[in-house]
Amino acid sequence: MDVLSNLALGFGVALTLKNLAYCFLGVFLGTLIGVLPGVGPLVTIAMLLPITFGLDPVSSLIMLAGIFYGAQYGGSTTAILVNMPGEVSSAVTAIDGYQMARQGRAGPALATAAIASFTAGIISTLLVAFFGPLVGKWALEFGAAEYFSLMLMGLVFSAVLAHGDLVKSLAMVVTGLMLGIVGTDVTSGLPRFSFGMAELLDGVGFTVVAVGLFAVAEIVQNLARTDKVEVFTKDVKNLMPTWADLKAITGPTMRGTALGSFFGALPGITASVAAFSAYMLEKKIAKDPSRFGHGAIEGVAAPEAANNAAAQTHFIPTLTLGIPATAVMALVLGALTMQGIQPGPAVMTTKPELFWGLVASMLVGNVLLLLLNLPLVGVWARLTQVPYRFLFPAILVFASVGNYSLNNSAVDVYLCAVVGVLGYVFAKLDCQPAPLILGYVLGPMLEENLRRALLMAEGSFTVFVTRPISLVFLLASALLLVAMVVPSLRKGRARVAGESEGD
């Protein structure tokens, strides 16, 4: 097959000693920076950019790509251990991963994250190799109307899935929407809820919200306790997942990979949306959804698979079309441009060693990441045995450093503290942070694309049903609503009562 001979060419490039070294350097750096919130691949790649001028294009691309997907591995480490998402897309992993760590299952959680990421990385890279150009063209069909309908479907999914106290969930979604609205309105260019602060004109950063809501609020809650309950149990069972664990994560990993690969190929959708969707899907189809949020291993596997799959398929629009899916991809493109390579459809034919070399290196890199991360699980897991009085100041310092380095601005650190206080209040009121994050992520995209679609259609709402892809999403949402609402209406009352007692 053509793809196979191309892959052979790619491995010829990727397996040279030099490129192996750059690949390792990339994934190693990526793992490191993934651990720190705020210090993401964007900053790292920007700082390394001048160094790459001296390298040949393939080597620099292999290294930069390694940093990017390596960060997706590293980001889950602190999310699981101390409830501090190192990367934006790891926020979802924190929900169940941290609970697992508290129950003495940090090892299995970390290993699950690594295994799910690895599986997703390999599968999605093969997708890039076999279907890259095809998918790239299809992704271009997505305009404002399609994105709106897709986001709407996401919201409908989550509304249907909301369990427990519906009013509280809704309140949290709305709070998230309001947080997402802060900043300059994309359509009018006017500031909203910025209170005259220049720092708020670009909105409240995701890292600020996620770290404040998860890490800071958790610390305050733990310190506020007067009883002598340990934050982490001293009773650590096993470091590696059991066979039962592995069996439990197979399905979620595959579904997460599928969702992540899909979202990653769309320019304009970030890995965090992919991770969220995967999490919601698992919660939906689980036999016992109430386990989620209390250390369900599926809740770690699915989002980790999704965000790593998305990280690989982000390269589809980038390499086959020359269209960057994210800011990091734009930077990678910039690096290629500076090397005198015009990224675009022509790259695959004029520079096959570049495209296939990268694809092969992504397969190699994922293996390296697994080899790098699995032995580290034991080291990391021991971190939970550090007395909390030493652990929490360290977490706060890292959270502050990460938030500062986001924009090199102290305001982000203060904002994070404010969000932390809010998070504590929410916890006391028994409100879950997940719906808030969902509203915060989806809300602005929903609004932006709705207004953009209407601007283009001169105010006519028919645009959402006349465009086929958009129509499909809308129909799917409607079907879902009907399918979910009808049976739950029948037995709704009984179940709601049962759940609130269970909590």
């Binding site: 930077l331 675009g344 601007l455």
Partner: protein
């Protein structure tokens, strides 16, 4: 006693000042980039910074201070010590700021002194490769026949592509509908995907897709065709003389930076951007290297700022 201390301090300050005037740089130089890493201003600043470090033997550190259309970083630079060890990098966006914000935290015309340019990149107008418009004339005729029906993209209200297109609407007397995106990259994707009809942006942002055969550049700014885009006429050749926008990238220094230091920075930057790899980089983007003298750059900045006044009024840009 107090008086002696004051005197000593003054003397010390004066010597330090003189030393700075004669010998620059005496310590690491900070270049504030008021945008996130990876943008056009960031990339060119990092390239020039590396050259300057090699030439002068002092580190040149690029520091990203993004936020609020670059005003946070520029305000910080305006407050820095005026000794040439803090510079701010920006592009044509600087000339738009007075029309985007009601109030800037520094005096736009006075508190930051233009030092020199690093690279110039012309603006060009692009449509999708399979669009029916083969020339600027075709496009403008279609726009005249269907007022408000054609959509143009931008990276958001108050960005350079927004102003540049509104300026074209004034010059060509046509009416187009503005579809704002979050950043020029998203707008470019929308153009390639056929969501919008046209996009006016720097040749740097249009080059890759045009070379890749997905977009067509109908006209470029400037008085002659670009070597990188030989098939695209100038706006004058395409029938719209008097329209043309040249994006400048450059450095600013806080007000009060000694003229000798400003002159030295300009000379060193001019040397840096004239090296073959920098020239090649500029040309690959459709641009050409800068190195402009401080007074000429100051005139460019103030002329460009004035040029936008009627455009901002026409576009009814509501200030933040």
């Amino acid at each position: 006693m107090n008086r002696i201390v004051t005197l000593a301090a003054t003397l010390l300050a004066a010597t330090a000042f003189n030393a700075a005037a004669q010998a620059w740089p005496t310590k690491p130089v900070k270049i504030i980039v008021p945008y996130p890493p990876g943008g056009a201003v960031d990339v060119i600043s990092r390239k020039v910074a590396q050259k300057l470090a090699d030439q002068l033997g002092q580190p040149f550190v690029v520091e990203n201070k993004p936020g609020a259309t670059g005003t946070i970083g520029m305000a910080l630079a305006a407050q820095a010590a005026p000794d040439g060890h803090t510079l701010a990098a920006n592009d044509m966006t600087y000339s738009l700021l007075p029309y985007v914000f009601k109030r800037l935290p520094w005096d736009h015309a006075k508190d930051l002194v233009p030092v020199t340019t690093t690279v110039f990149v012309p603006y060009a107008i692009a449509v999708r490769a399979d669009a029916p418009y083969k020339s600027l004339g075709d496009l403008l005729a279609a726009a005249k026949a269907n007022p408000g029906k054609l959509n143009y993209g931008s990276g958001g209200p108050g960005t350079a592509p927004h102003f540049a297109t509104e300026s074209l609407m004034l010059a060509a007397k046509v009416d187009l509908t503005h579809i704002p995106y979050k950043g020029a990259g998203e707008a470019m994707t929308a153009l390639v995907g056929g969501q919008i009809d046209l996009f006016i942006a720097s040749t740097a942002s249009l080059m890759a897709q045009t070379k890749g055969g997905r977009t067509r550049v109908l006209a470029v700014s400037g008085d002659k065709r670009l070597a990188a885009l030989p098939d695209s006429p100038t706006f004058a050749q395409a029938g719209l003389p008097g329209y043309g926008i040249l994006n400048f990238n450059g450095f600013w220094a806080p007000k009060g930076t000694p003229a000798e230091v400003v002159a030295k920075i300009q000379a060193e930057v001019a040397k840096a951007v004239a090296t073959p790899d920098m020239v090649a980089f500029a040309e690959s983007q459709g641009g050409f290297p800068g190195g402009t003298k401080p007074d000429a750059f100051a005139k460019t900045v103030s002329d460009t700022t004035k040029m936008w006044a009627p455009v901002a009024e026409k576009a009814k840009v509501e200030r933040q």
